[in-house]
Amino acid sequence: MELIVASSIGVLTSVGIYLVLRFRTFPVIVGMSLLTYAVNVFLFASGRLAMNHPPILRDGLVFYADPLPQALVLTAIVISFGMTAVVVVFALGSYLGLGNDKVNDDDVEIDQGRKREEAGR
C-alpha cells in the first residue's frame, strides 16, 4: 500500500507542477487541483498508513489510526475547493474582459504602452 500511495502522490505532484507551469489559465487551474489532491493524500499519509484500526487511542490499544490528519485533510479539502472555485471565476472574468486566458500580464503592459503613445500623439 505504501508503494501505491507514495507513487500516486508523486505522479499527481509531477503532473500538477507540469500543468501549473503552462501558459494559459485552464491547464494551470487543472494543475492546481491535481496538486491539492496530491497534498491531501500526503496529509493522510503523515499520520502513518493504518488499516482496520480504531480511530481513537484508548487504554490497552497498541495500533490505532491517527484521526488528526483526517481533520486536517477535511480542512484542506474545503479550503482548496473554495479557492479553486474563486480562481475559476477570476480566470473567467479576466478571459471575458481581456479576450484571452493567458496567465501573464505582459499584454496588459503593451496595451498600456500603446494607449500612452496614442495619447501622446
Binding site: 492546481m32 484508548r58 480542512t75 480562481v87 474582459g97 501573464n104 500580464d105
Partner: protein
C-alpha cells in the same frame, strides 16, 4: 483565563457577518459600524499590548482544551505588537477608503475588510501552526475579494495571478505541515519547539525539508526574491486603500518567519544550521537591491511603491536573516516603519491618481488640486521610505547596519543597504519632481487667469471632481506616526529589545502554553452515556 485574547478575531468576524446580513444596502450604517468596530479593535489591541507589555504571556484555550490537543491563542509581546500595528493601520486606511469613496465603488468592501483584519489578527495571535495556515487562508480569501474590488479586467487579471500564486503557496504550506506532523506528531508551536530539539541531527532529513518548505512559504508571503513575482502586479492594480492595507500582509510573512525560526527552529539548532546565513540573508539582500532598482525603473507611481515594498521587505528580511538579538530588534523597529511608510505612499498615489488627469503615471501634467500639500507629504514619505534623515527609515537602517557588525557578510550588507538607499533616493526624487514640480512650473509660466483656467480644466479632467480632505488626513496620520516613531525611537527600541529577549528565551512561552491545565480528557468512555455527561460537566468546570 482571559477571553480578551480571542476578541480581535471574533469582533471583526461577527461585525462582518452582521454587516453583510443587516446593513449591505445602507452605506452610511456600514461605514459607521466599520469605524466603530475598528476603533474598538484599536482599543482592544492597546489593552492587549498593555497586558503583554510587562512580559507576561497569556493564552486562550479554544474550547478550554489543553494545549497540544486543543488550539491556543497566545498573546506575548510580539503578537500584541503586531496586532496593535494592524489596528492603527486599518483605522487610518478605513478613513481614507471612506473619504475617497472607494468603499462605495463595489459591493461588500466593509465586510471583506473586517474579514481581512480577522485573518491577519488570527495569524498573529495563534499558537498552533495548522491554525496559522487556516488564518492565512482567511486573510487570503478576503484579500482576493478586496483586490478586485470595483472590478475592471486588468484588476481581475492581476487577481488571477495573485490567487494562483497564493494557492500554490498554500499547497506548499500543507506539504510542509504534513512533513512536520509526520516527523513530530504535533502541530502546536510550543510543543513543536520541544520535539524538534529532541531530533537526532543524524536522522533529520524530513525535518530539514519541513524547515525549508516553511521558509519558502513564508518567503512567498513576504515577497522575498525570487518568490516576489505576484507582488508588483497585484499591489499596483489593487485599489489604493486595499494596497495600503496589504502593507501589513507582507509583514505577516515576516512575523511568521520570526516566530517559527526563533521558537521551533531557533538559530542555534544544529538540525537547521545554515538556513539563515546561507539562504535567507543573501536572498534578502538581493530583494533589497532588486526592489530599489525597480523603484528607479518604474513608469507609474503605483508600480514604484510596489517595488519599494519589495525593497523594504528585503530590508526587514536582511535584519531577520542576521538572527541575532540586535538584528531582530532592528527588524521589529523597521517592520512598523515599513508598514506606515508603505501605507502612506499607497494612499498618496491613490489621491494623486484621482486628482490628476495623467493618473498615476510618472509624467508631467496639469497641476492638481492641493498639489503642494500632496507634494510635501510625498516628500516626507519618500524620505522615510528611502531611509534618509531625519525620519524613522534612517534610524531603522542605522540599527540594521549596527546589527550587521557580527555577521560574516558585513561588507555585503553595508554595500547593499547603502547602495540601495542611494538608488531609492534617485528613484523617488525622479518620480516626485516629475509629478509634483513640473506641472507647477508650467502653471507659473502662464498668466494668472490662464493658470486658473488650466487648474479648472485639470479639475474637470480628473476623475474625482471634488478634493475630499479625509484621505489627506489619513496620509498625514501615517506621516505623523513616522515622525513619532523617530522621536520616540529610544523607548520603542527598548521595547523591541525586550520583545526579542522574550523571543530568544522562549521558556516562559512554552511553559505557559503547555502547562496551563485545560478540560479533563477522559479515555475509553466515549461510547457510553456517562462519558457525554462527564464532558458536559467538566466544560462548566473549566470556566
Amino acid at each position: 483565563m482571559s477571553h480578551w485574547i480571542v476578541l480581535p478575531v471574533v469582533l471583526p468576524a461577527m461585525l462582518a457577518a452582521a454587516m453583510t446580513l443587516l446593513a449591505r444596502y445602507h452605506a452610511g450604517v456600514e461605514r459607521a459600524l466599520s469605524l466603530a468596530g475598528l476603533t474598538a479593535f484599536l482599543a482592544l489591541a492597546l489593552g492587549l499590548a498593555w497586558q503583554a507589555g510587562d512580559g507576561t504571556v497569556t493564552i486562550y484555550q479554544l474550547g478550554a482544551w489543553q494545549a497540544p490537543f486543543g488550539i491556543v491563542l497566545v498573546a506575548d509581546r510580539l503578537s500584541t505588537y503586531m496586532v496593535l500595528l494592524l489596528a492603527i493601520l486599518s483605522l487610518l486606511v478605513m478613513l481614507h477608503a471612506i473619504g475617497s469613496g472607494w468603499d462605495k465603488r463595489g459591493r461588500h468592501f466593509h465586510p471583506l475588510f473586517q474579514f481581512q483584519i480577522m485573518g491577519i489578527a488570527g495569524a498573529f495571535l495563534t499558537g498552533d501552526i495548522f491554525n496559522l495556515f487556516v488564518f492565512f487562508e482567511v486573510l487570503l480569501i478576503a484579500s482576493y475579494g478586496l483586490l478586485v474590488h470595483s472590478g475592471g479586467a486588468k484588476r481581475v487579471r492581476a487577481g488571477t495571478q495573485y490567487v494562483l500564486y497564493n494557492l500554490l503557496g498554500s499547497t506548499l504550506f500543507l506539504f510542509a505541515l504534513g512533513t512536520l506532523y509526520a516527523e513530530t506528531g504535533t502541530l502546536n508551536m510550543a510543543d513543536l519547539a520541544g520535539r524538534v530539539a529532541m531530533i537526532d541531527p543524524g536522522a533529520s532529513a524530513s525535518i530539514r525539508v519541513a524547515a525549508v518548505l516553511l521558509l519558502l512559504v513564508f518567503a512567498v508571503k513576504a515577497a522575498l526574491l525570487p518568490l516576489h513575482f505576484w507582488l508588483p502586479a497585484a499591489y499596483s492594480q489593487a485599489p489604493g486603500p486595499v494596497a495600503a492595507l496589504f502593507a501589513i500582509m507582507t509583514k505577516v510573512g515576516a512575523y511568521a518567519i520570526i516566530r517559527i525560526y526563533t521558537l521551533v527552529f531557533p538559530p542555534d539548532l544544529e538540525v537547521t544550521a545554515g538556513l539563515h546565513e546561507v539562504w535567507l540573508l543573501p536572498l534578502a539582500l538581493i530583494s533589497l537591491a532588486i526592489g530599489m532598482i525597480g523603484v528607479l525603473a518604474a513608469r507609474s507611481l503605483d508600480r514604484l511603491v510596489a517595488f519599494a515594498v519589495v525593497g523594504s521587505m528585503g530590508m526587514v528580511m536582511t535584519a531577520i536573516g542576521l538572527m541575532s538579538e540586535a538584528g531582530l530588534t532592528a527588524a521589529l523597529y523597521y517592520v512598523a516603519h515599513s508598514t506606515f511608510a508603505t501605507a502612506a505612499l499607497f494612499l498618496l498615489v491613490d489621491i494623486v491618481g484621482q486628482r490628476r488627469g495623467a493618473g498615476a503615471r510618472i509624467e508631467g501634467g496639469a497641476p492638481m488640486v492641493g498639489g503642494p500639500l500632496l507634494g510635501g507629504l510625498f516628500f516626507a514619505s519618500a524620505i522615510a521610505m528611502a531611509g534618509l534623515p531625519p525620519l524613522s527609515g534612517f534610524l531603522g537602517k542605522l540599527l540594521i547596519l549596527d546589527a550587521a557588525y557580527d555577521s560574516t557578510l558585513i561588507a555585503w550588507i553595508w554595500t547593499v543597504v547603502l547602495g540601495s538607499s542611494l538608488v531609492a533616493v534617485v528613484g523617488f526624487a525622479r518620480a516626485g519632481s516629475t509629478v509634483f514640480w513640473k506641472p507647477q512650473q508650467v502653471a507659473k509660466g502662464m498668466d494668472d487667469l490662464e493658470a486658473e483656467q488650466h487648474i479648472s480644466e485639470a479639475d474637470r479632467d480628473s476623475r474625482g471632481k471634488s478634493a475630499p480632505a479625509l484621505p489627506v488626513v489619513a496620509v498625514g496620520g501615517f506621516v505623523a506616526l513616522l515622525a513619532a516613531q523617530t522621536i520616540f525611537a529610544g523607548p520603542m527600541t527598548d521595547y523591541m529589545r525586550a520583545t526579542v529577549d522574550q523571543l530568544m528565551r522562549p521558556g516562559a512561552y512554552v511553559s505557559t502554553v503547555l502547562d496551563t491545565p485545560g478540560k479533563e480528557i477522559s479515555y475509553g468512555h466515549y461510547e457510553d452515556e456517562a462519558g457525554y455527561d462527564e464532558s458536559g460537566s467538566s466544560e462548566e468546570g473549566g470556566h
